[in-house]
């Protein structure tokens, strides 16, 4: 049922003529199509290439996109004429997924190539508001794709049902269209899932908007392909500490036994590098840290893993914060105790459990001048 539009006018809800106008009269070398996911950015470029019979070259976020790769793949192509005397079209999909860390130098190289290219280059992105895209925005003609009106999506779903001879309930189609908030691809997928093999409706679960980090975890936990693993985190926005937490939280959902031990060993080593980087500000070590986190963990499994596991965000930091607040009382009590017994408050804090029993003694409590909150804390232990 999933269908990729073959012609530009099959794209719904977007002003695709503007792409054609740009192609005919490119005031700027590149066209940057930006907008939310699933509204037809990539699909319209595909459709265009097909319809107009372009020789089509694509680089997307599943490819490594550092300076070297971008130069090798697009740089050369942007200079050469097509072998078959066809017109050439270059698509760099999801440019906001070019990672500053893993795809080092990628954006700068892309900027250079756009300047020199002999062929039209189309870029797509969700969000190019970041200042690192300043140069790119200036060089490109910007075209915004907006979330598609739900009635347009509804109409599309209805057409699909008619074409595939599926009996449908309008209200259900509408609800699919509505809840996907302008995302055409997600709507079609939901429709597909709602229909069992014998073409009857089946209620599915609501789409949970998947996060990039979860996709990356899936790659790391499931794959054993070194090329996939190397780039697993390349289009993740989360900062590294967040990735550590995700890995740590979900590792034991996928791995067990010796695989788990091995994977934890890799994660632990990655953390050692992280500590060294933090302390010495020696960022070159990031390379080792990142490889241990991705390839290291990925290759710790004895075989490729299948099956769907849903991942969970770690709430450890929150828990730690709560505990820290609770233990603040312990700290103030330890401080008072320390002054009386000639030990450091650090030591009193650590040896706290040795004192609890008689901290509850009235005489001791009044000697330490414990306040009500502190007394309550001790009482609760």
């Amino acid at each position: 049922m999933i269908r990729n539009p073959e012609k530009l006018n099959e794209i719904i809800g977007q002003d695709t003529r503007k792409i054609l106008l740009w192609l005919e009269n490119p005031r700027k070398k590149a066209l940057l199509i930006h907008g939310p996911t699933g509204v037809g950015k990539t699909a319209s470029v595909y459709a265009l290439a097909k319809e107009r019979n372009y020789e089509f070259l694509e680089l997307n976020s599943s490819d490594l996109r550092n300076r070297e790769t971008i130069k090798n793949v697009i740089g050369e192509a942007s200079q050469q004429q097509s072998l078959f005397f066809k017109k050439k079209l270059i698509l760099v999909d999801e440019v906001d997924g070019i990672s500053g860390r893993h795809d080092y130098g990628g954006l700068a190289e892309l900027n250079r190539i756009i300047d020199e290219s002999k062929h039209p280059i189309i870029l797509t992105a969700n969000d190019v508001s970041d200042s690192k895209f300043n140069a790119l925005r200036k060089k490109s003609e910007l075209l915004e794709f907006k979330p598609v009106n739900y009635l347009d999506i509804f109409k599309l779903l209805k057409d699909i049902c008619k074409e595939d001879k599926i009996s449908f309930d309008e209200s259900k189609l509408k609800s699919i269209a509505r809840k996907n908030r302008g995302d055409v691809r997600a709507s079609i997928l939901d429709l597909q899932r709602s229909i069992s093999e014998n073409k009857v409706w089946e209620e599915g679960d609501d789409r949970e908007y998947k996060r990039e980090i979860e996709e990356s975890l899936r790659l790391v936990f499931k794959s054993k392909d070194i090329n996939i693993l190397l780039n697993a985190f390349s289009n993740v926005d989360e900062d590294l500490d967040e990735i550590f937490l995700w890995l740590d939280e979900n590792l034991d959902k996928e791995y067990s036994g010796d695989d788990l031990i091995k994977a934890y060993d890799k994660l632990s080593k990655a953390d050692v590098y992280r500590g060294r980087i933090l302390r010495r500000q020696y960022y070159r070590l990031l390379v080792y840290q990142n490889i241990l986190m991705s390839v290291g963990i990925g290759l710790s499994k004895t075989e490729k893993r299948n099956g769907f596991v849903s991942y969970r965000r770690s709430n450890r930091i929150l828990k730690m914060w709560i505990a820290k607040n609770r233990n603040a009382k312990r700290k103030t009590i330890a401080g008072k105790l320390a002054k009386k017994i000639h030990v450091s408050s650090y030591k009193a804090y650590k040896e706290f459990y040795d004192y609890i029993k008689f901290l509850k003694d009235e005489k001791v409590a009044s000697e330490l001048e414990l306040d009500d909150d502190e007394l309550e804390y001790i009482g609760g232990l």
Partner: protein
Amino acid sequence: MPESSIWIEKHRPKKFEDIIGQDGIVRRIHAFIKDKNLPHLLFSGPAGCGKTSLILVAAKELYGENWKENVMETNASMDRGIQIVREQIKDFARTRPIGNVPFKICILDEADALTRDAQQALRRVMEQYSSICRFCLIANYSSRIIDPIQSRCTIFRFKSLEAKDLNKIIEKIMKDEKLKIDEKAKDALVYIADGDVRRMENVMQSCSMINKKISEDSVYEIVSAARPREVKEILELAIDGKFPQAKEKLLEVMLKHGLSGLDIIKQIQSEIWNLKISDERKVELVDKCGEVEFRMVEGSDEYLQLESLIANFMRNDKKS
């Protein structure tokens, strides 16, 4: 000043004659005090063997009633950085002593926890103001004190108190606090103290809260309550292959008791010997503990490091 209700304070020696154990060191410090002279001191030795008590006795002897005016103890602070040396310590060291005394005393407890930078700064302060301020550094391990400071100090290495000394202390407190302690309970106290008087007296006071008659059982009961037992549970969960539960328990224990990664790893390491696994496996796991402790020092997430250690407990050998 009214007597403290906390025993380790109440029963702290007040005169040189009260001090039990560490005979040689006590004699020499006493001699210094009689001469009204004192070099910079570095006391090293295990916890609860009398290091702080000795310097406090010396200060009281030297300054009398108002000893606090000329003594600084930098132990109320959690801060171990250079700041404390440059501000509090320096401010104290450079002002003249109060009254007709030759110098002040600055007691730096846990000096080995001072950062290297702080120690470097301290070295200058010690030199500059040595005419009016003497330092007494207290540390568990003197090796963690930088060489230039060690060379400026007279070093005294304290030893854990022996059983006979601990017994003398028990007798004394028993009399003062009107306790009843049978021989078995005394042995138990000596055993759990392991040379640490502070710990022993804390246990005695805790026991006395329940009953003035202290029994062997009550001693062990208090001790086990003070040492969270959950660590063993964590390890057993892991050995049974229940890693997710072990990991959850680990976090819970750390947060509930406010334990650091190091606290936990110490407990794991001593708990390994009580597990039902082969001896070879125990040695392997202790080795792993060491490796992970090292990684913890170098790394940034203690919890994650502990998880990687606990994962290793799953790798079980064929039951021996």
